[in-house]
Symmetry: C2
Subunit: 186 residues, 2 copies
DNA sequence: ACGGGACCATACCCAAGGGTATTGACATTT
DNA sequence: AAATGTCAATACCCTTGGGTATGGTCCCGT
Protein backbone atom coordinates (compact mmCIF):
# COMPACT_ATOMS: atom_id res chain seq x y z
CA UNK A 1 0.00 0.00 0.00
CA UNK A 2 1.35 3.37 -0.95
CA UNK A 3 2.16 6.10 1.54
CA UNK A 4 -0.32 8.57 0.11
CA UNK A 5 -3.15 10.28 1.85
CA UNK A 6 -6.06 7.97 2.45
CA UNK A 7 -9.56 8.75 1.32
CA UNK A 8 -12.99 7.71 2.45
CA UNK A 9 -13.26 5.38 -0.50
CA UNK A 10 -9.94 3.73 0.27
CA UNK A 11 -11.13 2.91 3.74
CA UNK A 12 -14.38 1.55 2.37
CA UNK A 13 -12.63 -0.58 -0.22
CA UNK A 14 -10.49 -2.12 2.50
CA UNK A 15 -13.66 -2.82 4.42
CA UNK A 16 -15.29 -4.61 1.52
CA UNK A 17 -12.17 -6.65 1.01
CA UNK A 18 -12.08 -7.71 4.64
CA UNK A 19 -15.78 -8.40 4.55
CA UNK A 20 -15.51 -10.64 1.52
CA UNK A 21 -12.48 -12.45 2.88
CA UNK A 22 -13.32 -13.02 6.50
CA UNK A 23 -16.88 -11.92 7.12
CA UNK A 24 -18.50 -9.04 8.98
CA UNK A 25 -16.60 -9.57 12.22
CA UNK A 26 -13.36 -8.83 10.43
CA UNK A 27 -14.31 -5.30 9.52
CA UNK A 28 -12.84 -3.62 12.58
CA UNK A 29 -10.98 -0.40 12.87
CA UNK A 30 -7.66 -1.77 14.04
CA UNK A 31 -7.49 -4.42 11.37
CA UNK A 32 -8.38 -2.02 8.60
CA UNK A 33 -5.82 0.42 9.91
CA UNK A 34 -2.89 -1.95 9.77
CA UNK A 35 -4.16 -3.27 6.45
CA UNK A 36 -3.76 0.26 5.10
CA UNK A 37 -0.56 0.92 7.02
CA UNK A 38 -2.26 3.61 9.07
CA UNK A 39 -3.72 4.04 12.53
CA UNK A 40 -7.07 4.77 14.03
CA UNK A 41 -6.31 8.45 13.89
CA UNK A 42 -6.91 8.41 10.19
CA UNK A 43 -10.07 6.38 10.42
CA UNK A 44 -11.69 8.69 12.92
CA UNK A 45 -10.87 11.66 10.79
CA UNK A 46 -12.79 10.25 7.83
CA UNK A 47 -15.62 8.70 9.83
CA UNK A 48 -17.42 9.70 12.99
CA UNK A 49 -17.61 6.18 14.35
CA UNK A 50 -17.84 2.64 13.12
CA UNK A 51 -21.59 2.62 12.68
CA UNK A 52 -21.29 5.56 10.32
CA UNK A 53 -18.59 3.64 8.51
CA UNK A 54 -20.76 0.57 8.17
CA UNK A 55 -23.68 2.67 7.03
CA UNK A 56 -21.43 4.12 4.35
CA UNK A 57 -20.46 0.62 3.26
CA UNK A 58 -24.08 -0.41 3.08
CA UNK A 59 -25.11 2.67 1.17
CA UNK A 60 -22.24 2.30 -1.26
CA UNK A 61 -23.14 -1.29 -1.88
CA UNK A 62 -26.79 -0.51 -2.44
CA UNK A 63 -26.25 2.34 -4.85
CA UNK A 64 -23.10 1.47 -6.73
CA UNK A 65 -22.54 -2.24 -6.53
CA UNK A 66 -25.82 -4.02 -6.17
CA UNK A 67 -28.26 -1.92 -8.10
CA UNK A 68 -26.92 -2.41 -11.59
CA UNK A 69 -28.54 -5.75 -12.24
CA UNK A 70 -31.96 -4.49 -13.17
CA UNK A 71 -30.56 -1.69 -15.30
CA UNK A 72 -28.35 -4.11 -17.18
CA UNK A 73 -31.29 -6.36 -17.88
CA UNK A 74 -33.51 -3.54 -19.01
CA UNK A 75 -30.90 -2.58 -21.57
CA UNK A 76 -31.33 -5.91 -23.35
CA UNK A 77 -33.90 -6.97 -25.89
CA UNK A 78 -34.31 -10.72 -26.15
CA UNK A 79 -34.92 -13.02 -23.22
CA UNK A 80 -31.60 -14.74 -23.84
CA UNK A 81 -29.74 -11.46 -23.68
CA UNK A 82 -31.55 -10.54 -20.51
CA UNK A 83 -30.66 -13.81 -18.85
CA UNK A 84 -27.07 -13.35 -19.96
CA UNK A 85 -26.98 -9.93 -18.38
CA UNK A 86 -28.40 -11.29 -15.15
CA UNK A 87 -26.01 -14.19 -14.99
CA UNK A 88 -22.99 -12.14 -15.95
CA UNK A 89 -23.71 -10.15 -12.84
CA UNK A 90 -23.56 -13.27 -10.73
CA UNK A 91 -20.11 -14.03 -12.08
CA UNK A 92 -18.53 -10.61 -12.04
CA UNK A 93 -16.67 -9.49 -8.91
CA UNK A 94 -17.02 -6.01 -7.48
CA UNK A 95 -14.99 -3.21 -9.12
CA UNK A 96 -11.51 -2.67 -7.74
CA UNK A 97 -12.50 0.54 -6.02
CA UNK A 98 -14.89 -1.41 -3.87
CA UNK A 99 -12.64 -4.27 -2.89
CA UNK A 100 -12.45 -6.25 -6.11
CA UNK A 101 -14.14 -9.31 -4.66
CA UNK A 102 -17.57 -10.85 -4.69
CA UNK A 103 -19.27 -9.29 -1.74
CA UNK A 104 -22.92 -10.27 -2.04
CA UNK A 105 -22.48 -13.60 -0.23
CA UNK A 106 -20.72 -11.77 2.57
CA UNK A 107 -23.53 -9.23 2.59
CA UNK A 108 -26.06 -12.00 2.99
CA UNK A 109 -23.99 -13.26 5.88
CA UNK A 110 -23.79 -9.79 7.36
CA UNK A 111 -27.55 -9.44 7.13
CA UNK A 112 -27.88 -12.05 9.84
CA UNK A 113 -26.29 -9.90 12.49
CA UNK A 114 -27.13 -6.37 11.35
CA UNK A 115 -30.69 -5.12 11.10
CA UNK A 116 -29.98 -2.36 8.61
CA UNK A 117 -28.16 -4.70 6.28
CA UNK A 118 -30.97 -7.17 6.73
CA UNK A 119 -33.57 -4.64 5.70
CA UNK A 120 -31.57 -3.45 2.73
CA UNK A 121 -31.08 -7.00 1.55
CA UNK A 122 -34.74 -7.81 2.05
CA UNK A 123 -35.72 -4.85 -0.06
CA UNK A 124 -33.23 -5.80 -2.72
CA UNK A 125 -34.43 -9.39 -2.79
CA UNK A 126 -38.09 -8.54 -3.15
CA UNK A 127 -37.27 -5.95 -5.76
CA UNK A 128 -35.26 -8.38 -7.84
CA UNK A 129 -37.79 -11.14 -7.41
CA UNK A 130 -40.65 -8.94 -8.49
CA UNK A 131 -38.70 -7.63 -11.42
CA UNK A 132 -37.76 -11.12 -12.52
CA UNK A 133 -41.32 -12.29 -12.16
CA UNK A 134 -42.77 -9.58 -14.34
CA UNK A 135 -39.99 -10.09 -16.83
CA UNK A 136 -40.67 -13.80 -17.15
CA UNK A 137 -44.41 -13.28 -17.16
CA UNK A 138 -43.86 -11.00 -20.11
CA UNK A 139 -42.29 -13.85 -22.00
CA UNK A 140 -45.21 -16.12 -21.30
CA UNK A 141 -43.50 -18.13 -18.60
CA UNK A 142 -44.48 -18.99 -15.05
CA UNK A 143 -42.85 -15.96 -13.49
CA UNK A 144 -43.70 -16.66 -9.86
CA UNK A 145 -41.96 -20.01 -9.82
CA UNK A 146 -39.16 -19.38 -12.27
CA UNK A 147 -38.13 -16.11 -10.70
CA UNK A 148 -37.51 -17.91 -7.43
CA UNK A 149 -35.61 -20.66 -9.15
CA UNK A 150 -33.43 -18.30 -11.14
CA UNK A 151 -32.75 -16.01 -8.24
CA UNK A 152 -32.06 -18.96 -5.99
CA UNK A 153 -29.52 -20.31 -8.44
CA UNK A 154 -28.08 -16.82 -8.73
CA UNK A 155 -27.52 -16.63 -5.00
CA UNK A 156 -26.29 -20.15 -4.50
CA UNK A 157 -23.87 -20.18 -7.40
CA UNK A 158 -22.64 -16.80 -6.32
CA UNK A 159 -21.87 -18.27 -2.95
CA UNK A 160 -20.23 -21.37 -4.38
CA UNK A 161 -18.07 -19.26 -6.63
CA UNK A 162 -17.04 -16.90 -3.89
CA UNK A 163 -15.89 -19.88 -1.87
CA UNK A 164 -13.93 -21.21 -4.82
CA UNK A 165 -16.04 -24.31 -5.31
CA UNK A 166 -16.89 -23.72 -8.97
CA UNK A 167 -16.85 -21.08 -11.63
CA UNK A 168 -20.63 -21.34 -12.01
CA UNK A 169 -20.72 -20.14 -15.61
CA UNK A 170 -21.51 -23.56 -17.01
CA UNK A 171 -24.38 -24.13 -14.66
CA UNK A 172 -25.91 -20.78 -15.50
CA UNK A 173 -25.84 -21.36 -19.24
CA UNK A 174 -27.47 -24.73 -18.62
CA UNK A 175 -30.23 -23.03 -16.70
CA UNK A 176 -30.57 -20.51 -19.48
CA UNK A 177 -30.98 -23.26 -22.05
CA UNK A 178 -33.66 -24.90 -19.96
CA UNK A 179 -35.61 -21.68 -19.70
CA UNK A 180 -35.29 -20.92 -23.37
CA UNK A 181 -36.48 -24.41 -24.14
CA UNK A 182 -39.50 -23.81 -21.97
CA UNK A 183 -40.51 -20.81 -24.04
CA UNK A 184 -40.60 -22.85 -27.22
CA UNK A 185 -42.88 -25.52 -25.88
CA UNK A 186 -45.44 -22.83 -25.25
CA UNK B 1 -37.69 -22.46 29.57
CA UNK B 2 -38.08 -24.97 32.36
CA UNK B 3 -36.09 -24.88 35.58
CA UNK B 4 -34.60 -28.33 35.08
CA UNK B 5 -31.00 -29.26 34.93
CA UNK B 6 -29.37 -28.22 31.73
CA UNK B 7 -27.53 -30.61 29.48
CA UNK B 8 -24.84 -30.24 26.89
CA UNK B 9 -27.41 -30.70 24.14
CA UNK B 10 -29.65 -28.01 25.56
CA UNK B 11 -26.80 -25.55 25.42
CA UNK B 12 -25.99 -26.58 21.88
CA UNK B 13 -29.59 -26.28 20.74
CA UNK B 14 -29.70 -22.75 22.11
CA UNK B 15 -26.53 -22.03 20.19
CA UNK B 16 -27.99 -23.24 16.92
CA UNK B 17 -31.07 -21.18 17.49
CA UNK B 18 -29.07 -18.05 18.12
CA UNK B 19 -26.88 -18.84 15.15
CA UNK B 20 -29.82 -19.22 12.82
CA UNK B 21 -31.53 -16.12 14.12
CA UNK B 22 -28.73 -13.61 14.43
CA UNK B 23 -25.59 -15.10 13.00
CA UNK B 24 -22.31 -16.36 14.44
CA UNK B 25 -21.61 -13.25 16.49
CA UNK B 26 -24.72 -13.88 18.52
CA UNK B 27 -23.54 -17.18 19.90
CA UNK B 28 -21.94 -15.84 23.06
CA UNK B 29 -21.94 -17.23 26.53
CA UNK B 30 -23.84 -14.44 28.26
CA UNK B 31 -26.59 -14.36 25.68
CA UNK B 32 -27.05 -18.11 25.72
CA UNK B 33 -27.09 -18.05 29.49
CA UNK B 34 -29.91 -15.59 29.81
CA UNK B 35 -31.70 -17.32 26.96
CA UNK B 36 -31.71 -20.47 29.07
CA UNK B 37 -32.38 -18.63 32.31
CA UNK B 38 -29.00 -19.61 33.67
CA UNK B 39 -25.57 -18.10 34.19
CA UNK B 40 -22.07 -18.71 32.94
CA UNK B 41 -21.45 -21.05 35.83
CA UNK B 42 -23.53 -23.66 34.11
CA UNK B 43 -21.94 -23.17 30.75
CA UNK B 44 -18.43 -23.61 32.04
CA UNK B 45 -19.41 -26.75 33.80
CA UNK B 46 -20.55 -28.38 30.56
CA UNK B 47 -17.84 -26.93 28.33
CA UNK B 48 -14.20 -26.13 28.89
CA UNK B 49 -14.32 -22.90 26.93
CA UNK B 50 -16.15 -21.38 24.03
CA UNK B 51 -13.95 -22.85 21.35
CA UNK B 52 -14.75 -26.31 22.64
CA UNK B 53 -18.40 -25.32 22.57
CA UNK B 54 -18.18 -24.16 18.98
CA UNK B 55 -16.30 -27.27 18.01
CA UNK B 56 -19.10 -29.29 19.53
CA UNK B 57 -21.64 -27.33 17.50
CA UNK B 58 -19.67 -27.90 14.34
CA UNK B 59 -19.25 -31.59 15.01
CA UNK B 60 -22.91 -32.01 15.83
CA UNK B 61 -23.89 -30.27 12.67
CA UNK B 62 -21.59 -32.35 10.54
CA UNK B 63 -22.60 -35.69 11.93
CA UNK B 64 -26.27 -35.33 12.79
CA UNK B 65 -27.72 -32.48 10.80
CA UNK B 66 -25.87 -32.09 7.56
CA UNK B 67 -24.86 -35.58 6.62
CA UNK B 68 -28.25 -37.08 6.01
CA UNK B 69 -28.71 -35.77 2.50
CA UNK B 70 -26.64 -38.36 0.73
CA UNK B 71 -28.08 -41.18 2.77
CA UNK B 72 -31.60 -40.04 2.01
CA UNK B 73 -30.86 -39.95 -1.68
CA UNK B 74 -29.23 -43.35 -1.71
CA UNK B 75 -32.37 -44.82 -0.22
CA UNK B 76 -34.35 -43.85 -3.32
CA UNK B 77 -34.69 -45.66 -6.62
CA UNK B 78 -35.80 -43.42 -9.45
CA UNK B 79 -34.19 -40.11 -10.36
CA UNK B 80 -37.38 -38.29 -9.50
CA UNK B 81 -37.45 -39.79 -6.04
CA UNK B 82 -33.83 -38.93 -5.53
CA UNK B 83 -34.38 -35.34 -6.51
CA UNK B 84 -37.36 -35.20 -4.21
CA UNK B 85 -35.25 -36.45 -1.35
CA UNK B 86 -32.59 -33.86 -2.05
CA UNK B 87 -35.03 -31.02 -2.31
CA UNK B 88 -36.99 -32.08 0.72
CA UNK B 89 -33.79 -31.61 2.64
CA UNK B 90 -33.50 -28.06 1.41
CA UNK B 91 -36.95 -27.30 2.78
CA UNK B 92 -36.85 -29.11 6.10
CA UNK B 93 -35.64 -27.20 9.17
CA UNK B 94 -33.31 -28.76 11.70
CA UNK B 95 -34.83 -31.06 14.33
CA UNK B 96 -36.05 -29.42 17.49
CA UNK B 97 -33.17 -30.78 19.54
CA UNK B 98 -30.78 -28.80 17.40
CA UNK B 99 -32.57 -25.50 17.38
CA UNK B 100 -35.48 -26.24 15.08
CA UNK B 101 -34.41 -23.73 12.47
CA UNK B 102 -32.66 -23.81 9.15
CA UNK B 103 -29.03 -23.49 10.03
CA UNK B 104 -27.13 -24.20 6.86
CA UNK B 105 -27.30 -20.60 5.59
CA UNK B 106 -26.00 -19.44 8.93
CA UNK B 107 -23.28 -22.06 8.72
CA UNK B 108 -22.24 -20.75 5.35
CA UNK B 109 -22.09 -17.31 6.93
CA UNK B 110 -20.11 -18.64 9.84
CA UNK B 111 -17.63 -20.26 7.50
CA UNK B 112 -16.45 -16.80 6.48
CA UNK B 113 -15.04 -15.99 9.88
CA UNK B 114 -14.08 -19.41 11.24
CA UNK B 115 -11.45 -21.56 9.61
CA UNK B 116 -12.69 -24.85 11.01
CA UNK B 117 -16.23 -24.22 9.90
CA UNK B 118 -14.87 -23.15 6.56
CA UNK B 119 -12.99 -26.38 6.12
CA UNK B 120 -15.93 -28.50 7.20
CA UNK B 121 -18.20 -26.71 4.78
CA UNK B 122 -15.69 -27.02 1.97
CA UNK B 123 -15.47 -30.74 2.52
CA UNK B 124 -19.22 -31.03 2.64
CA UNK B 125 -19.65 -29.03 -0.55
CA UNK B 126 -17.16 -31.02 -2.56
CA UNK B 127 -18.60 -34.25 -1.23
CA UNK B 128 -22.13 -33.31 -2.18
CA UNK B 129 -21.07 -31.96 -5.55
CA UNK B 130 -19.16 -35.10 -6.40
CA UNK B 131 -22.00 -37.27 -5.25
CA UNK B 132 -24.50 -35.31 -7.28
CA UNK B 133 -22.27 -35.43 -10.32
CA UNK B 134 -21.85 -39.19 -10.25
CA UNK B 135 -25.55 -39.57 -9.60
CA UNK B 136 -26.52 -37.49 -12.59
CA UNK B 137 -23.86 -39.06 -14.77
CA UNK B 138 -25.43 -42.38 -13.94
CA UNK B 139 -28.70 -41.15 -15.40
CA UNK B 140 -27.02 -40.13 -18.62
CA UNK B 141 -27.02 -36.41 -17.84
CA UNK B 142 -24.27 -33.82 -17.83
CA UNK B 143 -23.33 -34.31 -14.21
CA UNK B 144 -20.57 -31.75 -14.00
CA UNK B 145 -22.79 -28.87 -15.01
CA UNK B 146 -26.09 -30.02 -13.58
CA UNK B 147 -24.66 -30.85 -10.18
CA UNK B 148 -23.47 -27.29 -9.82
CA UNK B 149 -26.79 -25.93 -10.96
CA UNK B 150 -28.82 -28.12 -8.64
CA UNK B 151 -26.58 -27.56 -5.65
CA UNK B 152 -26.50 -23.85 -6.35
CA UNK B 153 -30.28 -23.73 -6.40
CA UNK B 154 -30.30 -25.82 -3.24
CA UNK B 155 -28.11 -23.32 -1.45
CA UNK B 156 -29.75 -20.19 -2.77
CA UNK B 157 -33.30 -21.29 -2.18
CA UNK B 158 -32.31 -22.47 1.25
CA UNK B 159 -31.05 -18.99 1.97
CA UNK B 160 -34.12 -17.30 0.53
CA UNK B 161 -36.38 -19.51 2.57
CA UNK B 162 -34.46 -18.97 5.78
CA UNK B 163 -34.87 -15.25 5.29
CA UNK B 164 -38.56 -15.64 4.67
CA UNK B 165 -38.51 -14.54 1.07
CA UNK B 166 -40.20 -17.62 -0.38
CA UNK B 167 -41.12 -21.17 0.45
CA UNK B 168 -38.98 -22.46 -2.41
CA UNK B 169 -40.91 -25.68 -2.92
CA UNK B 170 -42.42 -24.51 -6.20
CA UNK B 171 -39.12 -23.52 -7.64
CA UNK B 172 -37.58 -26.85 -6.76
CA UNK B 173 -40.32 -28.89 -8.41
CA UNK B 174 -39.92 -26.71 -11.48
CA UNK B 175 -36.24 -27.52 -11.56
CA UNK B 176 -37.04 -31.18 -11.09
CA UNK B 177 -39.37 -31.13 -14.07
CA UNK B 178 -36.72 -29.50 -16.20
CA UNK B 179 -34.20 -32.15 -15.29
CA UNK B 180 -36.63 -34.98 -15.86
CA UNK B 181 -37.48 -33.49 -19.21
CA UNK B 182 -33.81 -33.47 -20.09
CA UNK B 183 -33.56 -37.20 -19.53
CA UNK B 184 -36.30 -37.90 -22.02
CA UNK B 185 -34.75 -35.95 -24.84
CA UNK B 186 -31.70 -38.17 -24.53
C1' DA C 1 7.01 33.03 6.86
C1' DC C 2 3.06 32.19 9.04
C1' DG C 3 -1.46 30.83 10.16
C1' DG C 4 -4.90 27.55 9.38
C1' DG C 5 -6.82 23.43 7.83
C1' DA C 6 -6.28 18.64 6.12
C1' DC C 7 -4.56 14.39 7.62
C1' DC C 8 -2.63 11.07 10.76
C1' DA C 9 0.10 9.14 15.05
C1' DT C 10 0.21 8.40 19.99
C1' DA C 11 -1.57 7.70 24.32
C1' DC C 12 -5.07 7.07 26.78
C1' DC C 13 -10.13 5.54 28.61
C1' DC C 14 -14.17 2.50 28.74
C1' DA C 15 -17.54 -1.28 27.91
C1' DA C 16 -18.16 -5.92 26.49
C1' DG C 17 -17.32 -10.50 26.43
C1' DG C 18 -14.32 -14.61 27.60
C1' DG C 19 -12.42 -16.94 31.49
C1' DT C 20 -11.51 -18.35 36.60
C1' DA C 21 -12.32 -19.17 41.49
C1' DT C 22 -15.15 -19.86 45.04
C1' DT C 23 -19.18 -21.15 47.10
C1' DG C 24 -23.80 -23.19 47.54
C1' DA C 25 -27.88 -26.38 46.71
C1' DC C 26 -29.22 -30.85 45.88
C1' DA C 27 -28.83 -35.69 45.03
C1' DT C 28 -26.43 -40.03 45.54
C1' DT C 29 -23.53 -43.12 47.80
C1' DT C 30 -21.40 -45.50 51.81
C1' DA D 1 -25.18 -38.63 58.66
C1' DA D 2 -21.23 -37.95 56.44
C1' DA D 3 -19.00 -37.77 52.27
C1' DT D 4 -18.86 -37.38 47.52
C1' DG D 5 -20.39 -35.81 43.04
C1' DT D 6 -23.40 -33.02 39.99
C1' DC D 7 -24.88 -28.74 38.58
C1' DA D 8 -25.23 -23.83 38.93
C1' DA D 9 -24.82 -18.81 41.05
C1' DT D 10 -21.74 -15.09 42.33
C1' DA D 11 -17.93 -12.28 42.22
C1' DC D 12 -14.11 -11.34 40.30
C1' DC D 13 -10.01 -10.71 36.44
C1' DC D 14 -8.18 -9.95 31.67
C1' DT D 15 -8.18 -9.11 26.90
C1' DT D 16 -10.16 -7.02 22.95
C1' DG D 17 -11.97 -3.54 20.34
C1' DG D 18 -14.56 0.95 20.08
C1' DG D 19 -13.95 5.74 21.20
C1' DT D 20 -11.54 10.26 22.68
C1' DA D 21 -8.03 13.76 23.33
C1' DT D 22 -4.19 15.70 22.00
C1' DG D 23 -0.50 16.80 19.49
C1' DG D 24 2.28 16.39 15.36
C1' DT D 25 3.34 17.05 10.16
C1' DC D 26 2.46 18.65 5.66
C1' DC D 27 0.49 21.81 2.48
C1' DC D 28 -1.65 25.75 0.73
C1' DG D 29 -3.09 30.53 0.45
C1' DT D 30 -2.04 35.28 1.73
Amino acid sequence: MAKEKLSKDTWLAAGFQSLADSGPTSVQINLLSQKLGATKGSFYWHFKDISEYKSAMLELWRTKVASDVIDNINAQQTLEQQLDALFADATRPAPEEYGGKKIEPAMRAWALSDQDVGKALADLDTLRLLFLKSLLDGWGLDGKVLSELIYGAYIGLDDLQSKGRTNSSGALTALKQMILAATETK
